[in-house]
């Protein structure tokens, strides 16, 4: 009778936990910025899977835990001990084996997702001295939509090449074909883009949350990095690897446009002559070191000497104002 009840309770709980896990897995999509790249869809699916399984494990463990805390309390004058159970070999084998299978599965699924993203360009394989596998990983036949998008982008049009230079504290984007520079990153939608990431001084992090992608930028070391934007709009590029005093201000806007608008923008920029762009770090630095500087009183606690920012980049195109936050 009590055994039956236990089984019943466990079954009901398992069902509830499963439902809750599915709900959380669905919910997890809303925790992210918009899905602006093909890769971001891959990542969100993976994250959703992790969230579902994570919720399942969490509730699966915390349920018995709380049950025990509620129902296995010592009564007030009960000074006796509990049953001297020291272990149970089968149980221990099971709860070692199940997590083992689980994490290996998660590793495999993560690996597949990573492979589908194929964010690291062919450069890397050259470095590995493995020219025979230069054939890009994304050519493998995958079924899901984002993969299709990446594939289409690769097949239908040449890859857009953009040089990215990070420095203390500015981002400069160079379009080698047109030889123009900008402090705002413009990208064509539904095209594969290949960045060459360079740093002039310290480590930086090339991070666009709406793309779910990030790559540290390392001085003396060019890094190829690929992605496919799939949604027009304005997003934010942030420095993600701590780079010194004005690190937090080292941001730029990313504008994903239809291809013709993008072409237009390139043409306009090529016609413009280079001018110094607004730079938040240089601006704050000049104010802080101004004798009567207005920002002197902007902070309550004054700071120490800093590495001076590089002078504002001189570029063909710069937004007229400091970068906007993306709409929330």
């Amino acid at each position: 009778m009590s055994k039956l009840r236990a089984i019943l309770i466990m079954t009901v709980y398992a069902i509830l936990v499963t439902l809750a896990s599915i709900w959380m897995a669905k919910q997890s999509y809303s925790w992210f910025p918009p899905e602006a790249s093909a890769e971001s869809k891959l990542l969100d699916d993976l994250f959703s899977l992790f969230t579902g399984l994570g919720t399942f494990i969490y509730l699966g463990v915390i349920g018995p835990f709380l049950y025990s805390l509620v129902f296995h309390r010592a009564r007030k004058y009960d000074m006796s001990d509990g049953p001297p159970i020291e272990g149970n070999t089968w149980l221990e084998i099971v709860w070692t084996a199940v997590p083992l299978v689980l994490v290996l599965t998660l590793s495999f699924v993560s690996y597949r997702t990573y492979e589908k993203m194929a964010v690291r360009g062919p450069m890397e394989l050259v470095h590995l001295h493995l020219p025979q596998i230069i054939q890009p990983a994304y050519a493998a036949p995958f079924d899901s939509t984002p993969q299709q998008e990446i594939e289409n982008a690769v097949e239908t049009a040449p890859i857009e090449e953009i040089d990215v230079t990070a420095k203390q504290w500015a981002w400069v984007f160079h379009y080698p074909k047109q030889d123009i520079t900008s402090t705002e990153l413009h990208l064509p939608v539904n095209r594969r883009v290949r960045f060459t990431l360079r740093s002039e001084d310290v480590l930086h992090g090339f991070y666009i949350p709406a793309f779910r992608l990030k790559q540290d930028v390392v001085p003396n070391h060019e890094i190829d990095f690929e992605l496919t934007p799939v949604k027009t709009g304005t997003y934010r590029l942030r420095d993600s690897m701590f780079s010194g005093t004005y690190f937090a201000a080292n941001q730029a806007d990313v504008v994903v446009q239809p291809f013709n608008e993008y072409q237009q923008w390139l043409a306009d920029a090529a016609a413009a002559s280079p001018t110094p762009a607004f730079n938040q770090a240089a601006f704050e630095y000049s104010q802080a070191n101004d004798q009567e500087g207005a920002t002197k009183d902007n902070v309550v606690v004054r700071g120490w000497d800093t590495i001076p920012p590089a002078s504002p980049p001189v570029v063909n195109y710069a937004p007229k104002h400091e970068p906007d936050s993306p709409p929330t």
């Binding site: 001990d81 049953p83 700071g303």
Partner: protein, 571 residues
């Protein structure tokens, strides 16, 4: 429970340590008694916990608004650097060494550590480290501002050009703390290997001792690598060598390998002893043997080994080639298994027990539940694609504070409450303890849960200012941070007042198994008059089985619940 003499507490306190100076003064001497040193460690590091906490409160004050308006950006950078460094090197490491120092010799039936004088030297380096760290606030250019990782090239950029700068002081401080830790580790390992009392075979050794052994072995193999990296970094800054300086042909990524080869396992140096304390505390307050004791004990050593093979997961977004990313993803996932086994073992331990919600038990349970959560987000981080998105965001900050505050600090509190009657002979105040627990648990959730969504939205860590879209989560986290600051007050009040005038509760108020409960509270100078002779495993609850075959302290009259005989109150 013994009756207490509220009339004249100071007389009763007397001098439990024959030959020692006045009771409290011995804590200010170069004592070689492991119990004195243990308490010196705990109290000193708690002082730095408060300092590190104050720094975090200022940071949360800055972050309650999106703009960098409370402190200058350089100050914010110095704050998170010093907060992280102080919390790790001046609080978590030393407080756990202190608890280990106090407990390990008692638990293995030894009279002291293997090298008592070395032990004292190790301790007295800690205040030196603290002074160096704090002094860096006073040098021109301020303290180090490169984060507790001190990644080059930022860490070798030297704005003032002075040789004496915050970064150099930071490296010196970390180096001295490393020397102290290595000496401590040699001491612990020798003690545990060679000083266990007769009859205490490996599988009669308490889980806490196993976990300390695992942690200290990590110190031995890991710290030297960090030291190597730190020496090279120091040479780069001071002499101008080119190891990590890209403009001189160096390789900054190599530093990251040196750093994380130690600093990932270092996380386990901190969590393992806490696991050990959970494993000690649960059986006592649930009155059941530790479930799967042998597996839990051995998994500590497994963690020691495997945690040395996962360090690159901190560098997934670095210039790490894909094969390395995948390889280290798998090893990182695997390290979750021994930790998972422990959690299952703890749940099975309390299952069907006779649970009492004493303060140490509450903290242990709370710590375990937080660890469960942090462990799951840890598996997220091990997955390369997920980490590529959340690496260096607030998701990571939320994750590691769930480990550090939610599990480790809670576990430390649990340990302090649990062994407080042993250390002082007095009982803490249960009501204040429960209040402390409630504030800590809520504060942890309110501070560190909101950091996860902020990170998923793309808020980088180490920022003094942020976009408006993150404001909501940051206000919550700031309020939680202030709540956590508040939560330390009942603790301090509790400790101070009950140490002075708490109820005297005899030698074994918890009716616990374990050699440390066989001696007086506080224990006499050499712990045991005669070394205990262990005749059974460490968690004999419900089995009417004596732990030792002799009477280690024959002179001890007050010994109502002697484990040398059957538990008198057994039915």
């Amino acid at each position: 429970m013994t009756n207490i003499s509220l009339e004249a507490p100071e007389v009763v306190r007397g001098q439990p340590y024959p030959g020692a100076p006045d009771n409290w003064k011995r804590f200010f001497t170069f004592s070689t008694d492991h119990k004195v040193i243990g308490i010196q460690y705990i109290v000193t590091s708690f002082f730095f916990f408060l300092i590190g906490g104050t720094l975090s409160m200022i940071m949360r004050g800055e972050l309650i608004t999106p703009d960098a308006d409370l402190v200058d950006r350089t100050v914010y950078n110095a704050l998170f650097t010093m907060h992280g460094s102080i919390m790790l090197f001046m609080w978590t490491f030393p407080v756990l060494v202190g608890l280990g120092n106090y407990l390990v010799p008692l638990m293995i039936g030894a009279r002291d550590m293997a090298f008592p004088r070395l032990n004292a030297v190790s301790f007295w380096m800690v205040p030196v480290v603290g002074v160096l760290m704090l002094a860096s606030f006073l040098v021109p250019g301020g303290p180090s501002q490169s984060g507790w990782w001190a990644y080059p090239p930022v860490s070798i950029q030297n704005p003032t050009g002075n040789l004496l700068n915050g970064q150099v002081l930071w490296i010196l401080a970390v180096a001295i703390s490393g020397v102290s830790s290595i000496m401590g580790a040699v001491n612990f390992v020798t003690t545990i290997f060679r000083m266990r009392t007769p009859g205490m075979t490996w599988f009669r050794t308490p889980a806490f001792v196993w976990s300390v052994l695992g942690a200290q072995l990590i110190q031995l193999y890991g710290l030297p690598a960090l030291t190597g990296g730190a020496v090279m970094l120091l040479l780069d800054i001071t002499i101008g060598t080119s190891f990590f300086a890209p403009e001189r042909g160096g390789n900054p990524i190599l530093y990251q390998h040196f750093f994380w080869f130690y600093s990932h396992p270092a996380v386990y140096v901190m969590i393992l002893p806490v696991f050990g304390m959970f494993s000690e505390i649960l059986p006592v307050h649930a009155r059941k043997p530790l479930f799967g004791y042998r597996v839990i004990a051995a998994s500590s050593i497994l963690i020691t080994v495997v945690s040395g093979l996962v360090w690159v997961h901190h560098m997934f977004a670095s210039a790490t080639p894909s094969w390395m990313r995948i390889l280290f993803m798998v090893t990182s996932m695997l390290v979750a298994i021994p930790s998972g086994i422990k959690v299952f073992g703890w749940v099975a331990t309390i299952w069907g027990g006779k649970i009492r919600f004493t303060t140490p038990m509450l903290f242990a349970l709370g710590g375990i539940s937080n660890w469960l959560f942090a462990g799951i987000t840890g598996i997220f981080l091990a997955s390369v694609p997920i980490d590529i998105h959340v690496n260096n965001t607030y998701f990571v900050v939320g994750h590691f504070h769930y480990v550090l505050y939610g599990a480790i600090v809670m576990g430390i509190y649990a340990g302090i409450y649990h062994w407080f009657p042993k250390m002082t002979g007095r009982m803490y105040y249960e009501g204040l303890g429960k209040l402390h627990f409630a504030l800590t648990y809520l504060g942890t959730a309110l501070t560190f849960l909101p950091m996860h969504p902020a990170g998923l939205m793309g808020m980088p860590r180490r920022v003094a200012s942020y976009d408006l879209e993150f404001a909501y989560w940051n206000v919550l986290a700031s309020l939680g941070g202030f709540l956590l600051g508040l939560s330390t007050l009942p603790f301090i009040l509790n400790m101070v007042s009950s140490w002075i005038r708490g109820e005297k509760v005899g030698n074994n108020p918890w009716r616990a198994y374990g050699l440390e409960w066989l001696t007086s509270s506080p224990p006499t100078v050499e712990n045991f008059e005669e070394l205990p002779l262990v005749v059974s495993g460490p968690y004999g609850y419900g089995r009417n089985q004596p732990l030792v075959g002799n009477t280690p302290n024959p002179g001890l009259t007050e010994f109502p619940e002697s484990l040398t005989a059957m538990q008198s109150d057994e039915l």
